[in-house]
C-alpha cells in the first residue's frame, strides 16, 4: 500500500537496511494490534475498510480539505495510513489549504527548534531545575513496557518537548500525567515513516530530519491539545475537580444503583476518576485504544475537554456488573484502579464511544431533564 499519495513524505526518509533492532524481544502488542487496520504483514483489508480509506484519500487529495467532512469521517476511526495528516488537520496544526501546508510545517518546525536553542540550556538553571528534574524522573517510566520508549534518543525527545512546554506555560508548569499525553502523537507521527509495528522500532534507523519532524509535530499537537484543557493542570487543578463532580452527577442520573453502591461503600469518585481526567483514560486503556479514542476526540467538538466526560461515564457504567458484585471498599477500589482492559481493541472502544455519544445526546442539552 502507498502510505502517502500526496508525496508529502517519501520513503527516502528511512535509511534502508537499518530498520529493525538486532535482538528483538517478543512483541507485546500494546500499540499496533489494530485489527481493522492494514499494515504490511497483516491480512488484507475488508472491503469496508478499503472504501473508508478511499474516502479519506479523496477528501485529503483536494486543494482544500473539507474539515467538516473530515470530522464526520474520522469520528468512527481513522485508518493508520492517513492518521498522521488527519490528526494534524483536525487539531488545527495544518491548514485546510493543501498548498500552504508545507510552508506551515517548515515554519512551525523551525519555531520549535528555535525554542530549543533559546531555552533548553536553561534546564539546569536554578529556577528551572525542579521542573527539569521532575520530567527527567518521569520520562524513563513513561510506557515502561514498550521498548520504543526505552531508547535514549526517544527519551531525550520527550524531555525536550515537555521542558519547553512547561516553561512556556508557567501557570501550570509540568504536571505528572502530561508526559503520557505526548505518547499518542509521537507514535502516530512515527507511523508516518514506517510500515511495521512500532513497539520495537529502532528510531536510529530514521533519518535525523524525520526524527526532528516527529518531535516538532508532536510538540505542537500536544500543545494544541493542552490549550483546550489547561485548567486541568493549573493550580489546584480546577478543571479536574469540576469534571469529577460532573461525572458523579452524571452517573447518579444514568445508573442510580451503581452510584448508590459506591456511595454505600464510601468510594469517592475523586479516588479513581482523578486519574481518568488527568491522563484522559490513558492509564486505563492500552495505547492502541487511546489512539483510536483520540481519533474521535479530535473529530468531536470539544472532544478532550467535554466529550471525555461522557466517555468516562460510559466507561464506569460499562463495569456495572463487576462493581455491583464487590461488597466492600477495598474490593471496589482495587477493581476501579485495575479495570481489565488489557485485551481491548477497536471494537470495545467503538461500543464505548457509541454509548458516550448517546449519553451526550440525552443529557448534554437538558441537564435537568433526568434529574432525580
Amino acid at each position: 500500500y502507498e502510505i502517502w499519495e500526496e508525496g508529502l513524505i517519501s520513503s527516502s526518509h528511512i535509511k534502508r537496511g537499518q530498520r529493525s533492532l538486532p535482538h528483538r524481544p517478543p512483541v507485546i502488542p500494546l500499540v499496533a494490534r489494530m485489527a481493522d487496520q492494514n499494515t504490511s504483514g497483516t491480512p488484507a483489508m475488508t472491503e469496508r475498510e478499503a472504501s473508508r480509506l478511499d474516502k479519506f484519500k479523496q477528501l485529503l487529495a483536494g486543494p482544500n480539505t473539507d474539515l467538516e467532512e473530515l470530522r464526520k469521517l474520522s469520528w468512527s476511526g481513522i485508518p493508520r495510513q492517513v492518521r498522521p495528516i488527519t490528526w494534524k488537520l483536525l487539531s488545527g496544526y495544518l491548514p485546510a489549504n493543501a498548498e500552504r501546508r508545507e510552508s506551515v510545517l517548515q515554519r512551525k518546525r523551525q519555531e520549535y527548534f528555535g525554542f530549543i536553542q533559546q531555552y533548553y540550556d536553561s534546564r539546569n538553571d536554578e529556577h528551572h531545575q525542579d521542573t527539569y528534574r521532575q520530567i527527567h524522573i518521569d520520562i524513563p517510566r513513561t510506557n515502561p513496557l514498550i521498548p520504543l520508549f526505552q531508547q535514549a534518543s526517544v527519551q531525550e525527545i520527550f524531555e525536550r518537548i515537555l521542558f519547553i512546554w512547561a516553561i512556556r506555560h508557567p501557570a501550570s508548569g509540568y504536571v505528572q500525567g502530561i508526559n503520557d499525553l505526548v505518547t499518542p502523537f509521537f507514535v502516530v507521527y512515527v507511523f508516518e515513516y514506517i510500515e511495521e509495528e512500532v513497539e520495537n522500532f529502532d528510531v536510529s534507523s530514521l533519518q535525523e530530519e524525520a526524527l526532528r519532524n516527529i518531535e516538532a509535530d508532536s510538540f505542537w499537537c500536544m500543545s494544541k491539545l493542552l490549550d483546550g484543557i489547561q485548567d486541568n493542570y493549573t493550580f489546584a487543578q480546577p478543571g479536574i475537580q469540576k469534571k469529577v463532580k460532573a461525572l458523579e452527577e452524571l452517573v447518579s442520573r444514568i445508573d442510580e444503583s451503581v452510584h448508590r453502591h459506591m456511595h454505600h461503600y464510601e468510594v469517592e469518585y475523586l479516588q479513581f476518576a482523578f486519574r481518568w481526567m488527568n491522563n484522559l483514560l490513558m492509564r486505563e486503556l492500552p495505547l492502541r485504544c487511546t489512539i483510536r479514542l483520540w481519533d474521535t476526540y479530535q473529530a468531536e467538538p470539544e472532544g478532550f475537554s467535554h466529550f471525555h466526560l461522557y466517555v468516562c461515564a460510559a466507561f464506569l457504567v460499562r463495569w456495572r456488573k463487576e462493581i455491583l458484585e464487590e461488597r466492600d471498599f477495598q474490593g471496589l477500589m482495587i477493581l476501579l484502579q485495575n479495570l481489565p482492559t488489557m485485551h481491548w481493541g477497536n471494537e470495545e472502544v467503538s461500543v464505548l464511544l457509541a454509548e458516550a455519544y448517546r449519553l451526550k445526546f440525552a443529557f448534554a442539552d437538558a441537564p435537568n431533564h433526568y434529574k432525580r
Binding site: 521532575q134 518521569d138 517510566r141 515502561p144 505528572q176 477495598q330
Partner: protein, 212 residues
C-alpha cells in the same frame, strides 16, 4: 476462617514523599513481593491492601500511595482523611527529597490528627539504601535526633529493590498504630464515664458508683 473470638482491625496508612523516591515500589514489594525499576508515576492516589496476622488477630492495612508531585499538595487533605499512620519516604541518593521530608510532615500534621488530638504515627523511610547512603552520611544528620525533633516514631533504611527493612518498618508502624488506638479507647472510656458522673450527681446510683 473466622471464629467468634477472631478480631479484625482495619487501618488506613498513607505513603507520602517526593516524586520518584520509591513509594510505589515499596508498596509493591510489601504487598506483591516483587520489584520493577520502572513503575509508572502515580497519578492522584493508588490503593493497595495488605493482610497481616498480628497476635492472633487479622490486621488489614489499606495502603494509600499518594502522588509525589507537590502540585497535588492541595489534594492531600482529601486523601489523608481517617488515616491512622503514615510512611514518609525519601531517596538516600537525592538530598532534595530529604529536605522535603519536613514539608511532608508539616502538611500531614496540619491536615490530620487523631481523635485525641495527637498526630498520627509516622515512620520515616530512607529508601534506595542499596544505592548508597550519601544523604545520611554527608550532612552529618543524626537521624535519631531528627526523628525526635520532627515527631517520627522511628526510621529505617530501606530498599524496595533488595527487600531490605520493608516488613520491619511496617511492623513498627502497626505497633504504634495499635498502641495509639488502645490509648484512645482507654481515654474514650474515661470520657464517657466522667460526664455521667456529672450528670448523675445526686442520683441514686452515683453513690454506689463513687464508693467503688
Amino acid at each position: 476462617m473466622q471464629n467468634n473470638h477472631h478480631k479484625e482491625r482495619l487501618y488506613k496508612i498513607l505513603v507520602i514523599g517526593d516524586l520518584g523516591v520509591g513509594k510505589t515500589s515499596i508498596i509493591k514489594r510489601y504487598v506483591h513481593h516483587n520489584f520493577s525499576p520502572n513503575y509508572r508515576a502515580t497519578i492522584g492516589v493508588d490503593f493497595a491492601l495488605k493482610v497481616l496476622n498480628w497476635d492472633q488477630e487479622t490486621v488489614r492495612l489499606q495502603l494509600w500511595d499518594i502522588a509525589g508531585q507537590e502540585r497535588f499538595g492541595n489534594m492531600t487533605r482529601v486523601y489523608y482523611r481517617e488515616a491512622m499512620g503514615a510512611f514518609i519516604v525519601f531517596d538516600v541518593t537525592r538530598p532534595a527529597s530529604f529536605e522535603a521530608v519536613t514539608k511532608w510532615k508539616e502538611d500531614l500534621d496540619s491536615k490530620l490528627t487523631l481523635a485525641n488530638g495527637k498526630n498520627v504515627a509516622t515512620v520515616l523511610l530512607a529508601n534506595k539504601c542499596d544505592q548508597g547512603r550519601d544523604v545520611l552520611t554527608n550532612n552529618g544528620i543524626k537521624m535519631e535526633q531528627f526523628c525526635l525533633e520532627n515527631g517520627f516514631v522511628g526510621w529505617y533504611e530501606t530498599s524496595a529493590k533488595e527487600n531490605i527493612n520493608i516488613d520491619e518498618a511496617a511492623n513498627c508502624l502497626v505497633k504504634h498504630i495499635i498502641a495509639n488506638e488502645n490509648d484512645m479507647l482507654q481515654s474514650e472510656v474515661l470520657d464517657t464515664i466522667s460526664p455521667q458522673l456529672e450528670k448523675d450527681k445526686g442520683g441514686t446510683c452515683s453513690s454506689c458508683f463513687r464508693s467503688q
